[in-house]
């Protein structure tokens, strides 16, 4: 929200140019109040309704470069990526080292505070390692690869718990079941990651506010940021 004043000013400038200077000062002020109000309440509305509303803080900022080509910018995402590069946090995937978040309940079997089970599985060896492979982009992976903004395993685990608890409450959640699988797509109402992989790179890594959880019962199969 720190850049909202700039964004309002930029939007008003654009509208003013579009009206070719015919807009009165009174109309400009009224428009500023309406746009400002929308900016403030848009995230809350999105979380409540479970939809992505258009907004100047939405996943990508569209601008024009010197040659008039449309380019996409994303301040929050760039900041997050820079923070990720500078941070000293390591992507720990040793479940035993995450004892503040995961409780060991059997051999290679851990449970999160919300009751999600993390077991062996996937080509990564464990579901935790698979999950944490979504804390880093894989630019050459075909299609989309959802990437969490935070690379700290405990933070990602708590985010998955938050999404799961919201999913079972039914709030801002799409649910799909097939066989023994349940797939939740949960709108968390804030940016939690971005879309990487080849498809994400082509779209300049749009920001994601949803998490998709694939579960078998309470066993996590995978979880990642997504734009539904």
């Amino acid at each position: 929200m720190a850049n909202d004043a700039q964004k309002i000013a930029r939007l008003l400038q654009t509208l003013f140019r579009a009206s070719r200077g015919k807009m009165s000062v009174g109309w400009m002020i009224a428009l500023g109040v309406v746009v400002g109000g929308y900016l403030v309440f848009e995230p809350a509305l999105e979380a409540r309704l479970g939809v992505d509303l258009p907004g100047v803080h939405s996943p990508e900022e569209v601008d024009q470069n010197d040659t008039g080509q449309v380019v996409f910018k994303s301040d929050d995402q760039n900041a997050a990526q820079q923070t990720g590069q500078q941070t000293t946090k390591q992507t720990s995937t040793d479940a035993k080292a995450l004892s503040k978040v995961l409780k060991e309940i059997g051999r290679d079997k851990f449970v999160s505070p919300a009751g999600i089970l993390y077991t062996r599985g996937s080509r990564h060896g464990t579901r935790l390692k698979h999950l944490m492979a979504h804390a880093k982009d894989q630019p050459n992976r075909p299609g989309q690869h959802g990437v969490f903004n935070d690379s700290d395993a405990a933070t990602v685990l708590l985010l998955i718990d938050e999404a799961y608890e919201q999913a079972i409450s039914g709030q801002s959640t799409q649910k799909k079941t097939e066989g023994n699988r349940t797939i939740y797509t949960v709108h968390l109402g804030r940016t939690i990651g971005y879309i990487g992989g080849q498809s994400g790179a082509r779209r300049r890594h749009p920001q994601a506010r949803h998490v998709r959880l694939v579960l078998e019962g309470k066993k996590l199969i995978t979880g990642f940021p997504v734009i539904p």
């Binding site: 077991t119 599985g121 996937s122 080509r123 060896g125 390692k129 690869h145 699988r181 797939i183 990642f224």
Partner: protein, 123 residues
């Protein structure tokens, strides 16, 4: 155990279950059958009928739909071009344009390692 093999993967589209994973061709180490597996959510189909429910799903292992051997562990591996030619159902599906074959990079187990330079490895 994750396999240490090359991450090159032949794939035939994307998974409708999770909406993300590439559908890789995997050769079973037990029966040498070629199956379709989602590289993200670990489900397997025996042929091109991908709108059918998956033949097997994996939580702790992903069993081969034909022989139940683990499709994760060696000697199971991503299907090679030669093995594509030897698979009757697959050549039939490709000949009749029911599937399109593409080549890409599998989801890397190594992506966890903060010291790994994936870009250099890929080039």
């Amino acid at each position: 155990m994750p396999d240490p093999e090359t991450p090159r993967m032949l794939y035939v589209g994307f998974c409708r279950m999770c909406g993300t994973g590439a559908l890789g061709l995997r050769t079973c180490g037990g029966c040498a059958g070629v199956v379709v597996v989602c590289d993200e959510c670990d489900v397997a189909w025996i042929d091109e009928d991908l709108s059918d429910p998956p033949a097997t799903t994996g939580s702790e292992t992903l069993p081969c739909p034909h022989c139940e051997a683990s499709l994760y562990d060696p000697p199971s591996h991503w299907t090679t071009g030669d093995e594509v030619q030897q698979s009757d159902w697959l050549t039939h599906a490709l000949d009749h344009n029911r599937l399109t074959l593409e080549v890409g990079q599998a989801f890397l187990p190594e992506a966890n390692d903060p010291d790994e330079d994936l870009d250099r490895k890929d080039s």
